[in-house]
């Protein structure tokens, strides 16, 4: 079995995950649709990155593209994704298989349907472990119990032979996490891991992820539309809108002082973070249709601060403070306005 270290391009010194100008386009009935449009970010060991945005903003698509999980065609992927220096975009299947699971793992929103209904959970958890290490079923089962205990599934030694439908949603999510951890990955991408769960269970799962990232030195990429989760968990946050990054930076800084009207709008719908911007309680309009993006800034139709200049060109990300960036042409005006409003 190939180890990650043996893959071409492996570089200990490189960032754990470096995404550069990632684009994902789909061919569609009405032409090409850019689901992800020039997204860049890096993740360092042990770090937690939160990607925030509404549905359809390209959060999930970008993460799927990282692991090569989008079928091409219809998807067209360009840009660069480097895991420890290994290029993953258009990488050979063998490279992707090696990286998946042991380098980068991913868990999904709907845990119940994301587990194979006809295989025992223990088998599913230990499957890649057995395949990669050549272990037999018995030791695989033992390892599965171990992992299940690690994600705090009660009575693991008995439940290891159960099928997914015998578990609750929260338990399924734990199983999926256990499964993702089977090969000790360095990064875990969690795609809205709690959306489908009850509120109380959401909390438990988030706690579990948090403790895992602390104890196992696991970098976490958390996709969520829940800013509360982001504020609590993330070291860094990235806000996406219509396939583009609109703002990125350290969590505290961004939440304290958002530089993009969209971020502001999102935050304003979060009563428990800050009430600085409570007048902007709702975002008017609806998320954009990707095939019919407006000219200029995509957020313009819904933006309070939209000006004629916003129609002319698409705002690029520009550094708007220490280790943070935003993509608003009027960032300075907004800020002034806000300040004056206070």
């Amino acid at each position: 079995m190939i180890n990650i270290n043996d893959l071409p391009g492996y570089d200990d010194a490189a960032p754990l995950l470096a995404v550069d100008n990632l684009c994902v386009t789909f061919e569609s009935f009405e032409g090409e649709v850019a689901a992800v449009d020039g997204v860049s970010f890096t993740v360092n060991p042990g770090e937690t990155l939160c990607i925030v945005g509404e549905s359809g903003s390209g959060k999930s698509a970008s993460q799927m593209a990282i692991l090569g999980l989008l079928s091409t065609p219809p998807a067209i992927i360009s840009g660069s994704v480097r895991f420890c220096g290994i290029e993953l975009v258009h990488a050979p299947q063998s490279t992707l298989f090696t990286v998946r699971g042991s380098g980068v793992s991913m868990i999904f929103q709907d845990a119940i349907t994301s587990l194979n209904p006809s295989l025992k959970v223990g088998f599913q958890i230990a499957e890649v472990f057995c395949a990669r290490t050549g272990s037999d079923r018995a030791s695989g089962r033992k390892y599965a119990i171990e992992l299940m205990e690690r994600v705090a599934i009660p009575d693991a030694s008995h439940r290891v032979d159960d099928y997914p439908f015998q578990f609750s949603g929260g338990m399924c999510q734990r199983i999926m996490i256990a499964m993702a951890l089977a090969l000790n990955p360095k990064i875990l991408i969690a795609d809205e891991p709690t959306t489908a769960l009850d509120v109380t269970v959401q909390r438990q799962v988030m706690e579990l992820l948090k403790s895992l990232s602390k104890n196992a030195d696991l970098a976490l990429v958390l996709i969520t539309h829940d800013l509360g989760v982001a504020a609590e968990q993330a070291d860094k946050v990235m806000v996406m809108y219509a396939g583009r990054t609109v703002e990125t930076g350290l969590t505290d800084a961004v939440f304290a002082k958002p530089y993009h009207p969209y971020t502001q709008a999102l935050l304003s719908s979060m009563p428990d973070v800050t009430n600085n911007f409570n007048r902007l309680g709702i975002i008017s309009g609806s998320p954009p249709v990707l095939t019919k993006l407006p000219e200029g800034c995509s957020f313009r139709p819904r933006c309070q601060f939209a000006a004629p200049m916003c129609r002319l060109n698409r705002p690029q990300l520009f550094v708007s403070g220490p280790s943070r960036a935003s993509a608003c042409l009027r960032v300075n005006d907004i800020f002034k306005k806000k300040s004056s409003n206070v």
Binding site: L69, Q93, G101, M106, N116, P117, L119, E127, Y163, Q166
Partner: protein, 320 residues
């Protein structure tokens, strides 16, 4: 298990209804005594046979008698050398019990149908899976075309064409008859064409559905190899429609063998049915139909029970 029991009872009832239907319908084609003894029989011989065989009893009594004997495995005696036509022999029962004749022919039909299945099931599944794993690729198009051709072709015509090509023109394989491996190739291929197509079609469409399900992405994300995802993860979940189709096609093979056995002079139950129909050998027809119907019903039952293996929910009693 009450479910199992209920299914089995249902099947037995169905078999009984079929056999009864065949019994009563068979009585519509005229005097059984005349059929047995042939047009040359004297009235005295006919009357004697009617008395001996109980043909003068009311129909319901004859029916009960028939069912009663059936329970002991006695389905009557073939008309062929059935009762002596020969008054000198004083109406001796000469013929073989039909059930023996049918059972004697079963191995040949099993051999043929089994060979066809051995070809059709793996090939059909492989074609369907390949097509589903690479939608819209060249392989997909070829599979779609072949499977459509398989279900559209007339079986016996295909058999004739294969004979012309492989036996007559090329001389590679025998034209027919019962024998070993060489003899079974052409009839099995002929018989397999349709199931290959049907199995490939259903495999392709269910596998496409399965491969679009979230758990596939999960398996990919955790680093499972593609072929393993396809054959281990998806195929097991796609199994129920495929197994149902295999069951249907197995039943169809058992009856479709009638035509193929005729074309290839393959001495199975199918040829027996054709022969006995052309001889109006009613007991033999009844027995053949009863046996084939029983086989088909058993296949259906097996398919039904196999669902439990593929859907753990069913065993564990939490149906969706």
């Amino acid at each position: 298990m009450p479910y199992t029991l209920r299914r089995i009872l249902n099947s037995i009832l169905l078999l009984l209804v079929t056999i009864s239907f065949v019994f009563f319908a068979g009585r519509m084609i005229g005097d059984p005594a005349l059929n047995m003894l042939g047009p040359g029989a004297t009235p005295a011989a006919l009357e004697k046979l009617r008395v001996v065989a109980g043909l003068n009893d009311p129909l319901w009594q004859q029916y009960l008698h028939y069912i009663g004997r059936l329970l002991t495995g006695d389905l009557g005696v073939s008309y062929r050398f059935g009762f002596s036509v020969i008054p000198a022999l004083d109406l001796k029962e000469l013929g073989q019990p039909v059930i023996n004749i049918v059972l004697e022919r079963l191995p040949a039909t099993f051999f043929l149908a089994g060979s066809a299945l051995v070809v059709a099931v793996p090939l059909g599944i492989f074609m369907g899976v390949t097509a589903a794993a690479h939608p819209r690729s060249i392989a997909d198009r070829i599979v779609t075309a072949l499977s459509l051709a398989g279900v559209s072709v007339v079986q016996f015509w295909l058999g004739l064409m294969l004979i012309v090509l492989f036996s007559v023109q090329l001389g590679w394989l025998p034209t027919g008859g019962y024998g070993g491996f060489q003899h079974v190739i052409l009839p099995a291929l002929t018989l397999a064409a349709r199931p290959i197509g049907r199995i490939a079609q259903v495999t392709r469409s269910t596998m496409m559905d399965e491969l679009a399900k979230p758990y596939i992405i999960t398996a990919q994300a955790k680093g499972v190899q593609n072929h393993r995802i396809v054959y281990h993860h998806a195929l097991k979940n796609a199994a129920i429609p495929i197994v149902t189709m295999i069951g249907d096609e197995t039943s169809a093979l058992l009856t479709g063998a009638i035509l193929v056995e005729k074309i290839f002079a393959w001495p199975g139950v199918g040829l027996l049915i054709i022969d006995s129909l052309s001889r109006s050998d009613l007991p033999l027809i009844q027995a053949s139909i009863a046996v084939v119907a029983a086989l088909v019903i058993i296949v259906n039952l097996l398919v039904d029970f196999s669902y439990r293996y593929f859907k753990p929910e069913i065993i564990l009693g939490r149906g969706r």
